[in-house]
Symmetry: none
Subunit: 241 residues, 2 copies
C-alpha cells in the first residue's frame, strides 16, 4: 500500500520525532508536515535511528498541497460519532476495519493526524473521505500523537494491495462537483445542499470508488441533468459501464 | 482479561509516563515497575491525565516479586528468533496471535517489557511462558518502549469501536428498487440497466449505508423522478438529512 502520513500542524517536536521512529519501525517513509512546529534537537533525539525520515519529511503550508496526489484521504480522530457533526465524523472505522476496507485496492492513501490539542477543523474533516478512530477507553480517550501513529501503522503494515485501481483525487473532485451541479438541476433545497454534498462524499469515500465506477456515475448524473430539462449534451460516452 | 504490565528496569522516566498514558487509553491500570529509574517531572508530564496510574504503580525489586501472582508470563521482545537463543526466544507470537492464544482463558496474565537498551537477560527470558514480538521492519526493528506497549494494549483491548446504526436489509432492498425506478425515469439505456443496478449495489454495499443516509438518498431519488417529468408525489419528508 502506497501510504502517506500527514501531520497537520503538529505542536510538539518530540512527537514529530517519535512519529518518524514509529514509521521506520513499520517500514513507512512518506511523511508530510503541514505547518509544523520548529524541529530541532528534541525531534532528532526522539526520531532515534529514523533521523533520515525526519530530514526527508516534506513541509507544506496547506493540507490541500499535502493530499493533492492521494486517492483516499483518511482522517484519524479521537472523537468519533459526535452527535453534532453526524456526516462529518460518522462512521469512524477502527484501524482493523479500515485495513479490511483498503485491502485489495491500489492507489495512494493519505492518513491524516490532527493537532495534539484541537485535532482537525471542520473544513479539514470535510476533505476526508473516511474517518478512522482507534477504539479507546471512554475514561481517557486522548492518545499521544505518536502512539496513535504507531497503532495505525502496526495495523496497516501488511496490507495486501492489489489489482483494483482507485479513482484518483482529481476524478473524485470532478465527480463531487458534478453531483453538486446535479443537485442544482433537480432544484434540491438550497439549505440542505451542503449537508447532502458531504453525505455523498462520505458514502463514496467509504466505498473507495474505482475509476470505472466514477465513469459510470458521471453517465448517470448526465442523464439526470438532461431529463431535468436543462440542455446538457448527451455525449456518446454516456452511461458506459 | 486480567492483565498486568511489568516494566523491567526502565531507564527513562518519560517512557514510564508515556506507558501509563497508553495503559489508561486502553482501559488498563495494573502497572508494576521492577527497579525503575527515578520518576519525577518528566514522567508526570508524559503521563498526562494518567497521573493516577503513575502514582499507583507498584514498585518491586525483583521480577519474581512482580509476577508471583500471575498464571501466564509473556515476555515482549524485539529480537525474535536469534539463532543463539532458539529455545529462549522462539516462537515469538505477534500481538494478534497472542490475543487469539489467550482468548477464553481465565487468570492473571503478566506482559513484560524489558530495558530500553538491553531488553531482558537470559534468566529473565527463562521465566517467561510465552514470547511475543511485534512484527517490525528489519531495517529498524527497535521500537520505543511506550510505542510497543501502546501497540500491544491496542491489540489486547476489547474496547469496541462505536457502531453507527446501519440500514437493515429491507431498507437496502427498497433503496435498490427505488434506484431501478429512477433509471427508468431518466430513460437509462435498457441494456445497461442490469450492470448499473449491480454497480450501485456494490458501491452502496461497500459503504455500509446508515439508516439516515438511505432516507436522504430516497429524498434525492424522488426529487430526480419528479424533475424527470413523471408525476411523483413530492412529500414533505423529502430530502431530510
Amino acid at each position: 500500500m502506497d501510504l502517506k502520513i500527514v501531520l497537520v500542524e503538529p505542536l510538539y517536536q518530540g512527537n514529530v520525532g517519535s512519529v518518524t521512529r514509529a514509521m521506520k519501525n513499520f517500514g513507512f517513509s512518506d511523511l508530510v508536515l503541514v505547518n509544523p512546529c520548529k524541529l530541532s534537537d528534541e525531534a532528532k533525539a526522539m526520531s532515534s535511528h529514523a533521523r533520515d525520515l525526519l530530514e526527508n519529511a516534506k513541509r507544506v503550508s496547506s493540507l490541500d498541497e499535502a493530499i493533492a496526489d492521494c486517492s483516499i484521504i483518511i482522517g484519524t480522530t479521537g472523537i468519533a460519532g459526535s452527535r453534532f457533526d453526524l456526516h462529518l465524523r460518522v462512521p469512524g472505522y477502527s484501524p482493523k476495519e479500515m485495513k479490511e476496507r483498503l485491502s485489495g485496492l491500489e492507489g495512494k492513501v493519505a492518513v491524516l493526524f490532527g493537532r495534539e490539542d484541537n485535532g482537525f477543523t471542520r473544513e479539514e474533516l470535510k476533505k476526508c473521505d473516511l474517518i478512522m478512530t482507534i477504539p479507546t477507553s471512554e475514561v481517557y480517550p486522548v492518545m499521544n500523537l505518536s502512539h496513535a501513529v504507531a497503532v495505525v501503522l502496526y495495523e496497516f503494515s501488511d496490507i495486501k494491495s492489489a489489482q483494483a485501481p482507485l479513482a484518483d483525487s482529481r476524478d473524485m473532485r470532478i465527480l463531487y462537483e458534478h453531483f453538486a451541479e446535479l443537485l442544482d438541476a433537480i432544484d434540491y433545497p438550497e439549505h440542505k445542499k451542503e449537508k447532502t454534498n458531504l453525505m455523498l462524499k462520505r458514502i463514496f469515500g467509504r466505498s473507495c470508488l474505482l475509476s470505472r465506477e466514477v465513469h459510470t456515475l458521471h453517465g448517470i448524473f448526465r442523464k439526470i441533468q438532461r431529463k431535468s430539462g436543462n440542455n446538457y449534451e448527451d455525449e456518446n460516452t454516456d452511461c458506459e459501464n
